[in-house]
C-alpha cells in the first residue's frame, strides 16, 4: 500500500504533503526524472531501504529533468519539514541554490551525480568516469581486433551540454578510445535528448554524413538504443557472434532493454555501465547519518559508488542477470528472454 501511495504521488507529480509522523524519520527524494527506468528503480530501492533499515518514510517528487521544477520540489520538501533531502538535479548552479535553501532551513541535503558548485554538502559520486573510460577501451580493442585496417571514427549522442555528463561519460569514453587508438577521431557529437526516437533520427543523419563511423556512444541507454535502431534501418547494427562487423555501440544505465541487446551475439550494442542499488542506499545512509548528527550536513564529502561496467565480452550472463535483479528488481530470466 505504501509503495502504491508513493507511486501515486510520483505518477501525478503532486506534492501533497502526507501527515508527517513525529517519531519517524521522513526522507525527501527528488529524482532527476521519473520518465527513465533508472530513476524509477532508484526511487523504489530508496524507499525500500529507508523503511527496512531505518523505519523511515519516503516522499518522492519528480524533478522532471527541469531546474525550475527541481528547485520547486526542494522548496516543497522544505515547507513540508522533511528530515533530509536527496537531490539528483540537472545542473550544478541550481544544486548550489537548493543546498543553500535546505541549509538555511536547517535541513540536511545530499546530492547525487551532479554536485553543487559550492561543494558544501555530502555528495554521492558514482565512479562513472572509470567505467566510461573502460568502455572506450574495450569497444576500441574489439573493433581494432576485428577490423585492423579501418580507422576508428567515433560518434556521440549526449544531453546537449551538461558539464558533468561530459566529465563523467563522454570525455572519459573518448579518452578510453584514444588510449587504444591515438588517431581516433570524433566525427560527430549531437544532442540525442536522452530519447530513443530523437536519437534514431539524429543518428540516421550522422551515419549519412559519416558512413565510416564505427564506434558510437550514447550518454544513456535510451540514446544507444536509438542509435542501434538507426544502424539497423541502414542494414548495419550487426555483429557475427560478438565480432564487430559494422560498429560497436555503448550506452549508460544497464536496464533490461539494453541488456537484451548487449547479450544478443548479433547486435552491435555491446557495452553499458550503471549503478542503482548502491546509489540509493548511499543516499539513504548518508541522509540518516546527517539526521542523527553522525555526519556534518554542511561539509563537502564524496561518497563513491561503483558504476559497474558490463559488456558482452567480459561479463557473464549470470553476472548481468544478477545486476538486473539487484538494480532493477528484474524477476525474469535474461537467458529465456534471449532465447525467445
Amino acid at each position: 500500500m505504501k509503495k502504491l501511495l508513493t507511486m501515486a504521488v510520483v505518477a501525478t507529480g503532486l506534492t501533497v504533503a502526507p501527515a508527517l509522523a513525529e517519531d519517524k524519520i521522513v526522507l525527501g527524494k527528488i529524482p532527476y526524472t521519473l520518465e527513465h527506468s533508472y530513476h524509477q528503480s532508484i526511487v523504489e530501492i530508496f524507499a525500500d531501504h529507508a523503511e527496512k533499515y531505518y523505519g523511515a518514510e519516503t516522499i518522492v517528487v519528480d524533478g522532471q529533468a527541469n531546474s525550475d521544477t527541481t528547485l520547486t520540489a526542494v522548496e516543497n520538501m522544505i515547507s513540508q519539514g522533511v528530515d533530509a533531502i536527496a537531490l539528483h538535479s540537472p545542473d550544478i548552479g541550481m544544486t548550489a541554490t537548493a543546498v543553500a535553501k535546505a541549509h538555511a532551513a536547517g535541513i540536511p541535503i545530499t546530492t547525487t551525480l551532479i554536485y553543487p558548485e559550492s561543494k558544501n554538502a555530502p555528495h554521492i559520486a558514482p565512479q562513472e568516469a572509470l567505467s566510461s573510460h573502460r568502455m572506450g577501451v574495450v569497444a576500441t580493442e574489439q573493433w581494432i581486433a576485428a577490423n585492423p585496417d579501418k580507422p576508428v571514427k567515433v560518434a556521440i549522442l549526449d544531453f546537449g551540454g551538461f558539464e558533468q555528463v561530459v566529465a563523467l561519460r563522454t570525455a572519459p569514453f573518448v579518452a578510453g578510445v584514444k588510449s587504444i587508438a591515438p588517431n581516433a577521431e570524433v566525427v560527430a557529437q549531437q544532442n540525442g535528448f536522452g530519447n530513443t526516437v530523437k536519437s534514431m533520427e539524429i543518428m540516421l543523419d550522422i551515419l549519412q554524413a559519416n558512413p565510416d563511423v564505427n564506434i558510437i556512444f550514447g550518454a544513456n541507454d535510451d540514446m544507444a538504443l536509438g542509435a542501434l535502431a538507426a544502424a539497423e534501418q541502414l542494414g548495419r547494427g550487426q555483429m557475427d557472434n560478438g565480432v564487430p562487423l559494422t560498429e560497436v555501440i555503448a550506452g549508460v544505465d544497464g536496464g533490461e532493454n539494453a541488456m537484451i541487446k548487449i547479450f544478443d551475439p548479433s547486435s552491435s550494442f555491446k557495452l553499458t555501465h550503471g549503478q542503482v542499488r548502491d546509489n540509493a542506499r548511499a543516499e539513504v545512509d548518508t541522509m540518516v547519518a546527517m539526521v542523527r548528527g553522525e555526519l556534518p550536513m554542511d561539509s563537502w564529502m564524496e561518497i563513491p559508488t561503483l558504476s559497474q561496467e558490463i559488456d558482452y565480452w567480459n561479463t557473464s550472463l549470470a553476472g548481468a542477470q544478477r545486476f538486473l535483479q539487484e538494480n532493477f528488481s528484474f524477476d525474469g530470466s535474461l537467458e529465456e528472454l534471449l532465447s525467445n
Binding site: 524509477q40 530513443t196 535502431a229
Partner: protein, 322 residues
C-alpha cells in the same frame, strides 16, 4: 476578390517555400557529398512522415480555425497501447484496429469539448494532452517499466520496418496516401469546401446551413485517428514504445502547417503548402546534422527560418493585397 487575395497569399507562400527548398537542396548538395542520395532522402522523408501524416488532418482542422495540441500525447498513448496489447497476446492486426478506435475516441473527446461544449481549443486539447500522456505512463507502469520493448512479437516490428513491395518504407507510403486523401478532400469534396467556409466566417457558414459542429467534430476525430496511426507506425519502426515520445510534436505539426501558409485564424491554407513547410523543416534539420553544426546553433536556426519565412510571406502577401 477576398478569395482571390487569399489564394494569392497562399500561393505566394508556396512559391517562397519552393524557393527556400530549392536553395537548401542546392546548397547542401554542394556543401555535403552525402546529401544527394536515395538513402538520405528516405531518411528525411521518414523523419517528416509522422509530422505530415498528422498535419494532413490537422491542417484542414486549422483551416476551420481550430487546432489540436494533444497530437503528440495521443501518438505516445497509441504507441504504448499497441505495444502493450501486442505483447500480451492480442494479434498485431487486431491491436492496431483497437488502437486506432481508441485514438479516434481521444479525437472524440476533443470534438466534444471544443466543438460541442465550445471550450477554447487550447485549453481543451491541452487537457487531453495531459490525460493521454498520463495514461501512457500508467500503461507503461502496468507493464512494469518506463517503456515497452522486451517481449514484443516479431510481426510487431515487421509492420513498421518491412518496406512495401520491398521498396518503400510503410511510413512514407502512408504519408503519401494521407496527403493525397486530404488534397482530394480539400479540392473535391463538400467537407473541404465547408471547412474553408467555417474558417472564413463561422457565422455565415452557420447561416448557410452548414453543420459547423459536426464538421469540426469530424475533423478532430480524423486528427485523432491519424495521430494514433502515427503512433503505431513510429513504435513499430523503432521497436520500442515509450510514453515520452512525441513531446513537442504538436509544435512541429503547427510549424509545418503555418509555414505552409495556413492561417491560424482559419479560412486559408492548403495540404500541399503544409507538405512544403514540413520538407523545409526536415531538410534544414538534416542539413545541419550533415554539416556537423552543433545543437545550439540548430535551435537558433529553426527559429530564424520560421520567422524569416513568415516575414517573407507576409511581405509578399501585403504586396499582393496592395
Amino acid at each position: 476578390m477576398k478569395y482571390l487575395m487569399h489564394y494569392l497569399q497562399t500561393d505566394m507562400q508556396k512559391v517562397i517555400l519552393m524557393g527556400i527548398l530549392a536553395a537548401l537542396m542546392i546548397g547542401l548538395s554542394i556543401a555535403s557529398p552525402n546529401f544527394l542520395s536515395i538513402t538520405n532522402f528516405t531518411n528525411v522523408l521518414l523523419k517528416v512522415a509522422i509530422i505530415v501524416i498528422i498535419a494532413s488532418a490537422a491542417n484542414l482542422l486549422m483551416i476551420t480555425g481550430n487546432f489540436d495540441l494533444s497530437v503528440g500525447a495521443v501518438l505516445a498513448f497509441s504507441g504504448i497501447l499497441h505495444a502493450y496489447m501486442s505483447k500480451h497476446g492480442v494479434p498485431v492486426e487486431l491491436s492496431i484496429l483497437i488502437t486506432l478506435i481508441v485514438a479516434m475516441a481521444w479525437g472524440g473527446v476533443n470534438a466534444l469539448t471544443v466543438s460541442v461544449l465550445g471550450i477554447n481549443p487550447v485549453i481543451a486539447t491541452v487537457g487531453t494532452l495531459f490525460i493521454a500522456r498520463g495514461f501512457a505512463f500508467l500503461i507503461a507502469r502496468w507493464d512494469g517499466g518506463a517503456n515497452i520493448m522486451m517481449g514484443l512479437p516479431r510481426d510487431f516490428v515487421d509492420f513498421g520496418r518491412d518496406p512495401v513491395f520491398g521498396l518503400v518504407p510503410l511510413a512514407i507510403v502512408v504519408m503519401v496516401a494521407a496527403v493525397a486523401i486530404f488534397i482530394f478532400i480539400e479540392k473535391r469534396t463538400a467537407l473541404g469546401r465547408k471547412a474553408y467556409a467555417i474558417g472564413a466566417n463561422l457565422k455565415s457558414a452557420k447561416l448557410s446551413g452548414i453543420n459547423t459542429v459536426g464538421i469540426v467534430a469530424l475533423l478532430y476525430v480524423l486528427v485523432g485517428l491519424f495521430a494514433g496511426l502515427s503512433g503505431v507506425l513510429q513504435t513499430s519502426r523503432v521497436g520500442l514504445a515509450s510514453p515520452t515520445v512525441g513531446k513537442g510534436l504538436e509544435f512541429d505539426v503547427i510549424v509545418a502547417i503555418i509555414l505552409g501558409g495556413t492561417s491560424m485564424l482559419g479560412g486559408v491554407g492548403s495540404t500541399f503548402g503544409m507538405v512544403l513547410g514540413a520538407l523545409v523543416v526536415g531538410f534544414t534539420a538534416n542539413g545541419m546534422v550533415l554539416l556537423g553544426i552543433p545543437f545550439y546553433y540548430q535551435t537558433i536556426a529553426y527559429g530564424v527560418i520560421l520567422i524569416g519565412t513568415l516575414l517573407l510571406s507576409q511581405k509578399f502577401g501585403t504586396r499582393a493585397k496592395a
